[in-house]
């Protein structure tokens, strides 16, 4: 590089071309002027005349100057001038590259790689050894220092991880093999992470640290659980405009596409992070199709939220005798079901024929004998519907109870009164739930008792179909599968007539568990054991860019690890545990990093101000002026033509 004061030239030999400018001046001067075209009737008189002394009119000096200036600017521009070029990095000494490799580094990953490659090639040219700390939580042991050229290959193959950037917990151990006088290049993802301050202190003590901040703001998307699910978009940008959130799912034709575009609400700025809530205001049909949300134009696992069961609102149809007058509302079984299900589901009520048209996920029949004979209902269950039935006085009085279809077990006619006024026994409590059933983990309140129930006919598979029982061992809830669907029967009423279960919190939780286990537009899979599992098996896994990769050879994740969020070994993705599908999303709270005692590299600082583009633009502008001037000179000719 040739340096002339504050101006440097990348390819100085092109400047020799400037010597040709005077020659050009002469050549341009000698150029003949454009002749005027004149219509002249007396032309015949001119025929055969010879010019007495032909005079070449000079190109006007200003046009000449314009052209020479334009060509001069072109030559200067081609020579690659740089205003105040700064020598790259002040580091002398072994190079240590700290590469933040979490999801936040994904959006500008190629630029980061290019920056590191530049540093590596420079270290290689200087013969300095180099080491690379890939902060994805998988680095172990002391960092090996090796010739810088050997790091380029691994660097090119490196991909950001689908979890947060993690540094090894002990910087001293990792830097055991590090020589002194380190020159550290820290490719930051702009966010604060655990152990970051510790590492910065350790590295500043060993050498000078140059931090390369990320290009552009970081964004994280998070699902806010609740009855009305919403998304929370956090960004380090302070600007007023935020990108939209795209809801992507499968359309009715089976093609994955953008189903909706959600715009964020008003921003709330706090500690350098702007938080916006993105309400998911979509009809439940559309919402059930959504497979993922992502921030538009942000390729990062942290900007993707995968939809799981918690997002999908079930459509539950209630069918029962609701003819009770206002004074008897508390006696209606539908009242309790409605109160229990309304906050978490979309309720449909009406006759059987009506609700089937709405393709509900769950149908609840409260004390409706005889309805099970409808073939449409049977078809619906066999195609994957969940039918929950409650018994009651009308079923108990039914004469054809023993051959009532669509029941998980055969019921014995007559029923049983265990705690009534005319019975000897006490009302029965509910036995704690089996740890492998769908109600596993629910706490049974001691005061929940059942006074009357309908008993099942003894059968060999009765025990395996019972998922909740009373303290005397008689079934309270039984379940059986039919086709791809399930039949669930509560052996007591949905109101407080036979049991106070309906007015306990347990009722809500049990219904919630059952409704969540209903299939929602999922392809049919063979029914497996529906026990609650301590492991979550990945179904699909995201890479650091937020793209879906198949979860090949991914080991199941222990529930305890799963609860701690995405980590090495548990990348962000969709995980299945038994019947439940749960998403592990990378995005979460973010905090901008701060760097004390480190030099922060500015984007414009390293290469200096390149003037090439400006000079070439100037040359183009001068040529345009030249064209205008020439046109102005030739206007006489135009007038003659006209």
């Amino acid at each position: 590089m040739l340096l002339l004061g504050p101006l440097g030239f990348l390819t100085p030999w092109i400047l020799i071309g400037l010597a040709a400018l005077p020659v050009l001046w002469l050549i341009l001067r000698a150029m003949p002027p454009t002749p005027k075209l004149v219509r002249f009737p007396g032309t015949r008189l001119l025929l055969g005349l010879r010019d007495p002394h032909p005079v070449a009119r000079h190109t006007p000096w200003w046009l000449l100057l314009l052209r020479v200036l334009a060509i001069g600017a072109l030559i200067l521009g081609a020579a690659g001038p740089v205003w105040k070029p700064s020598p790259e990095g002040a580091g002398q000494g072994p190079l240590l590259i700290v590469m933040d490799a979490g999801w936040a580094a994904a959006p500008d990953w190629p630029q980061r790689q290019a920056r590191v490659l530049r540093a590596l090639s420079r270290a290689e040219a200087e013969g300095q050894p180099a080491a690379m700390l890939i902060a994805d939580g998988r680095a172990e042991g002391a960092l090996p220092f090796q010739p810088a050229g050997e790091l380029a290959g691994p660097l090119r193959a490196l991909r950001p991880a689908a979890w947060e950037t993690r540094y090894p917990p002990d910087p001293e151990a990792a830097l055991a093999a590090a020589p002194s006088g380190l020159s550290v290049l820290w490719l930051s993802d702009g966010l604060d992470h655990p152990d970051q301050a510790k590492w910065l202190a350790a590295l500043t003590a060993r050498g000078n640290v140059t931090v390369v901040p990320p290009e552009g703001p970081r964004r994280a998307l998070e699902l806010v659980p609740g009855d009305q699910p919403a998304l929370r978009l956090r960004t380090t940008a302070s600007g007023a405009d935020a990108p939209d959130v795209l809801a992507i799912g499968v359309d009715p034709q089976g093609t994955p596409r953008e189903l909706a575009r959600l715009s964020p609400a008003d921003p709330v700025a706090e500690d350098g992070v702007t938080t916006r809530l993105v309400p998911i205001t979509l009809p439940s049909e559309l919402r059930n199709r959504i497979t993922r949300f992502e921030v538009e134009g942000n390729a990062s696992a942290g900007a993707v939220v995968l939809a799981d069961d918690s997002l999908r609102r079930r459509k539950v149809a209630l069918i029962g005798d609701d003819r009770a007058s206002e004074g008897q509302r508390l006696l209606s079984p539908l009242h309790y079901l409605r109160r229990a299900l309304a906050p978490t589901t979309d309720l449909i009520e009406g006759g059987l024929g009506d609700v089937l048209l709405a393709t509900p996920d769950v149908i609840v029949l409260a004390d409706q004998p005889g309805l099970g004979e409808a073939p449409a209902l049977r078809d619906w269950v066999e195609q994957g519907g969940l039918l929950i039935r409650f018994v009651g006085p009308r079923m108990a009085a039914s004469e054809r109870l023993s051959d009532e279809p669509l029941l998980p077990v055969r019921l014995r006619a007559g029923g049983r009164d265990v705690g009534g006024a005319l019975a000897w026994g006490e009302p029965r409590g509910i036995e704690p739930f089996a740890p492998d059933g769908p109600f596993a983990g629910l706490e049974v309140p001691g005061d929940a008792t059942v006074r009357a129930q309908l008993l099942a006919e003894p059968a060999p598979d009765l025990a395996s179909r019972t998922i909740a029982r009373l303290t005397d061992g008689t079934p309270l809830v039984t379940r059986a599968s039919l086709g791809q669907g399930q039949l669930v029967l509560f052996h007591t009423t949905a109101n407080a007539e036979w049991s106070n279960l309906a007015i306990s919190g347990l009722f809500v939780e049990m219904l919630d568990r059952l409704v969540r286990s209903a299939r929602v537009n999922r392809p049919a899979a063979p029914e497996t054991d529906q026990a609650e599992q301590p492991f979550w098996t990945p179904e699909l896994v995201l890479d650091g860019f937020g793209r879906v990769t198949e979860a090949e050879a991914s080991a199941p994740v222990a529930a305890a690890d799963f609860a701690r969020g995405p980590a090495p070994g548990a990348p962000a993705g969709l995980y299945r545990g038994g019947e439940r599908l749960k998403a592990l999303n990378a995005g979460g709270p973010i905090r901008p990093a701060n760097w004390h005692g480190a030099r922060i590299e500015r984007g414009t600082e390293t290469p200096g101000l390149a003037l090439r583009g400006w000079l070439i633009a100037l040359a183009a502008a001068l040529f345009a002026l030249d064209a205008l001037g020439s046109a102005w000179l030739a206007r006489g000719r135009q007038r003659a033509l006209a």
């Binding site: 009737p41 032309t43 032909p54 005079v55 070449a56 009119r57």
Partner: protein, 267 residues
């Protein structure tokens, strides 16, 4: 048409008799009868006052007609600047004014090749023909030789910048038939002064003829010499044929040219 009328009104429409005895309606003179005069030609009333017999002569009124021809060559549509009329416009103006003056003098006027008629209406007819006549896309337009009739007076309007040979032939033929007339050369000031400088591509009006020069100013003297030579040729030929040759500059007032034309035709 209006400016032509205004111009024509400036001319004094004087008696246009032949100032000699001949067949006519107006009295010319009494002369003594000579042998050969028939008895019917003797004016008895005059003769009764004296002894001799007198014959009443009438002024000769020859059936004279004027033919006007204006070149339709493309070059006639030239005007050196926007303020000046084209040569053709000027030529038509002159022609119309002259037509009106002649008509009011009792002459019969027509465009060359058409039957001459007297009367005010004929001026309208001629004007209409001139207006609707298309311009040729050639540089040359020769006056029609076959339209020459004995006893005609012919007025030719042209810039005479084209090939001179047809005009010379026409003059020779006209003098053979005893036809007299006027050549009126209408030129633009640009054609008379040749004001160009520098590199100029000259094209004739139709574009058929071209001359490229790098120094137009240097050609000026040569051009003017050729123009003068052309005029000399034409006026020489006109004199030989008993014609008159005049020039008119579109930069000058038309009345001047019209007066000259009138005087030439009168004389």
């Amino acid at each position: 048409m209006l400016s032509a009328e205004r111009l024509a009104a400036a001319l004094v429409p004087g008696a246009h008799g032949q100032r000699r005895a001949g067949t006519g309606e107006d009295f010319w003179q009494y002369r003594p009868a000579t042998t050969g005069d028939t008895a019917r030609s003797i004016d008895w009333r005059r003769s009764a006052r004296s002894d001799a017999q007198f014959v009443r002569d009438r002024e000769a009124q020859v059936a004279q007609s004027a033919a006007i021809w204006i070149s339709a060559a493309a070059g006639m549509d030239y005007a050196g600047s926007a303020e000046r009329p084209t040569k053709r416009d000027r030529a038509e103006l002159l022609a119309l004014s002259l037509t009106m003056a002649l008509l009011s003098g009792g002459e019969r006027v027509a465009l060359a090749g058409q039957p001459p008629r007297p009367g005010r209406l004929q001026a309208d007819r001629i004007a209409e023909t001139l207006v609707t006549r298309p311009t040729l896309d050639r540089d040359d337009d020769a006056p029609p030789v076959e339209a020459l009739r004995p006893g005609q007076r012919v007025i030719l309007f042209d810039d005479f910048l084209g090939d001179p040979q047809p005009v010379l032939d026409y003059l020779a033929r006209a003098s053979g038939l005893g036809v007299q007339g006027v050549l009126m050369q209408v030129l633009d000031p640009n054609e008379e002064a040749f004001p160009w400088r520098g590199a100029v591509l000259f094209r004739s009006a139709s574009g058929a003829i071209g001359h490229d020069t790098r120094d137009a100013a240097g050609l000026r003297s040569a051009y003017l010499a050729r123009l003068a030579e052309r005029r000399e040729t034409l006026s020489q030929a006109a004199r030989t044929a008993g014609w008159h040759f005049g020039t008119h500059d579109t930069g000058a007032a038309p009345a001047q040219a019209l007066l000259w034309l009138w005087s030439v035709l009168e004389g």
